[in-house]
């Protein structure tokens, strides 16, 4: 670290301003931010930029945060400095996504904007909401290990989404609505990829579901999440979200179709991932599939017999009998999921 003194103060200011300007220049775009490992040093020492990709050394970020925090607490109660405080919250949340005061300040600002502009100049308000979503997307879907599963920011997004939905969805066509929700799921999937088993991202997706009324969107979500889970079979958070999605599909044959695909995927590729098998055993023990379960029981039993005949010990050959055993034990105990 740079020692205290005028040199450090200058660097602190420069770090903050460079980072802040980058945010300002890309207000309307989703950027990808990464923390550079110490071995990669940017030319000029502050940032590395390549279009929508930003690389920030940890030192720069820490220095910028100190400056941002200073500006924020200086400006948060002073209406003349409010815009500088607002700008500072972006850098603060990038460094410390759990900074509740900073997140609340942004909420307060959007709330004030709603009161002031919603009726007489809605475009200004709408644009601010969209920019906020871009900012959240940039932080939540970048390869930033801590930030991508920030409960504060995912809650902030959920709050924002209600405002945005009330502006955009009232007069929207079915297609526009579908696009709106699809964008949210895409963000969740991307964040889930950046940080595996990202419970907070999937929990956000779970909270979206009651807001979605269209059965087509439900179907699309289920298909999309199923594909995502098959590509990430050890991600228990993804699988449990899929478990919660299935009872929303009607008729039951759609649920059965998805489970059939997953089961044959697991069998054909001889997958042994525990999370995948937890999904299989839970869905087969629940009543979500109703009468379709017999077919799956048979498939599983046949697979178990095949593995037994092959007489080769492997992780799968232990996984399958245990799954069958679990289903038999808990089938009666699991209550009917209410829809």
């Amino acid at each position: 670290m740079v020692s205290a003194g005028p040199g450090r103060a200058k660097l602190q200011l420069l770090s903050y301003e460079t980072l802040s300007q980058y945010f300002q220049a890309h207000e309307d775009e989703v950027v990808e931010i990464e923390i550079l490992p110490p071995a990669i040093e940017p030319l000029g020492g502050i940032l590395m930029q390549d279009g929508l990709n930003l690389g920030v050394p940890k030192k720069t970020l820490a220095l910028a945060y100190v400056e941002a925090r200073h500006r924020f607490f200086e400006g948060m109660h002073d209406s003349k400095l409010a815009s500088s405080a607002l700008q500072a919250t972006k850098v603060m949340l990038l460094f410390d996504p759990e900074h509740l005061t900073a997140a609340n300040f942004r909420k307060g600002w959007l709330g004030a904007l709603e009161a002031e502009f919603k009726s007489y100049n809605p475009a200004v308000y709408h644009k601010a909401l969209r920019q906020e979503l871009c900012f959240l997307n940039s932080i939540l879907t970048s390869p930033l290990h801590r930030q991508s599963k920030s409960p504060t920011l995912w809650y902030h997004r959920l709050w924002l989404l209600d405002l945005l939905a009330s502006v955009e969805l009232e007069k929207a066509s079915e297609d526009q609505k579908a696009t709106f929700w699809r964008a949210e799921l895409t963000a969740v999937c991307k964040s889930g990829e950046q940080h595996p088993k990202n419970y907070y991202a999937w929990q956000y997706a779970r909270r979206l579901m009651p807001k979605i009324v269209s059965p087509e969107t439900n179907d699309e979500f289920a298909r999309h999440v199923k594909d995502w889970c098959c590509r990430h079979p050890s991600d228990i958070s993804g699988w449990s979200f899929l478990l919660s999605l299935l009872p929303r599909l009607h008729p039951v044959s759609k649920r059965q179709g998805l489970v059939r695909d997953i089961l044959s995927y697991a069998i054909n590729l001889r997958l042994e991932h525990e999370s995948l098998w937890v999904f299989i055993r839970t869905i087969l023990a629940q009543e979500t599939l109703l009468g379709g379960r017999t077919e799956f029981d048979e498939t599983l039993q046949n697979y178990n017999d095949d593995l037994g005949n092959a007489k080769k010990a492997s992780a799968v050959s232990e996984r399958v009998p245990r799954t069958l055993n679990w289903i038999n034990t808990y089938r009666e105990a699991i209550a009917v999921p209410k829809n």
Binding site: E32, L36, A39, E193
Partner: protein, 200 residues
Amino acid sequence: MKIVYIGVLKNDSKPAVELSLERELTSYSRFTRGSISEFTSVFAQTVAERTRPGQRQDVEQDQYVFHAYARTEGVCGIIISDQEYPSIVAHQLLSKIVDEFTSKYPRTAYASATTDTSKLSFPELKDYIVKYQDPQQADNIMKIQKELDETKIVLHKTIESVLERGEKIDNLVAKSDGLSAQSKMFYTQAKKQNSCCTVM
């Protein structure tokens, strides 16, 4: 599940030489991609040099698995995937690739290859690395090659365990010509912080 690297290497003498290769690194962040790319090649060579003709092995290193299959023709196929990718599929794909490669090029075509000679054209790799990101695509080759026996694949838990006595991965990295000064520093620092998963 992803495949990061597919390559065919000449491994009948040291150092192993990459004859054809493809990488898929778009999921890596923009500024570390360059170093990751160098590491894929260096570690692929390291594993290929230590795979005997006819042998199949899987070498785990951090969140990656190096799948290797060497042939008597003096070539070795290497696939680098993440831990989730099914090993059996990777090996089916390796058989297919090495078969196709050896039927396309006679041994004389690559016997004198060195790191400086140009790569042999094998455009199929580009299609495979895209197509087989989804292992379900392998259904057909799985059916054809039923005879592949999973238990024949030797599993190593770290790259160190394929090295010979006295060899150290740190020294191999330090001596490697295929790594830039930046990548070497990247490796040392990641190791120091015990966050090797950010490298290979």
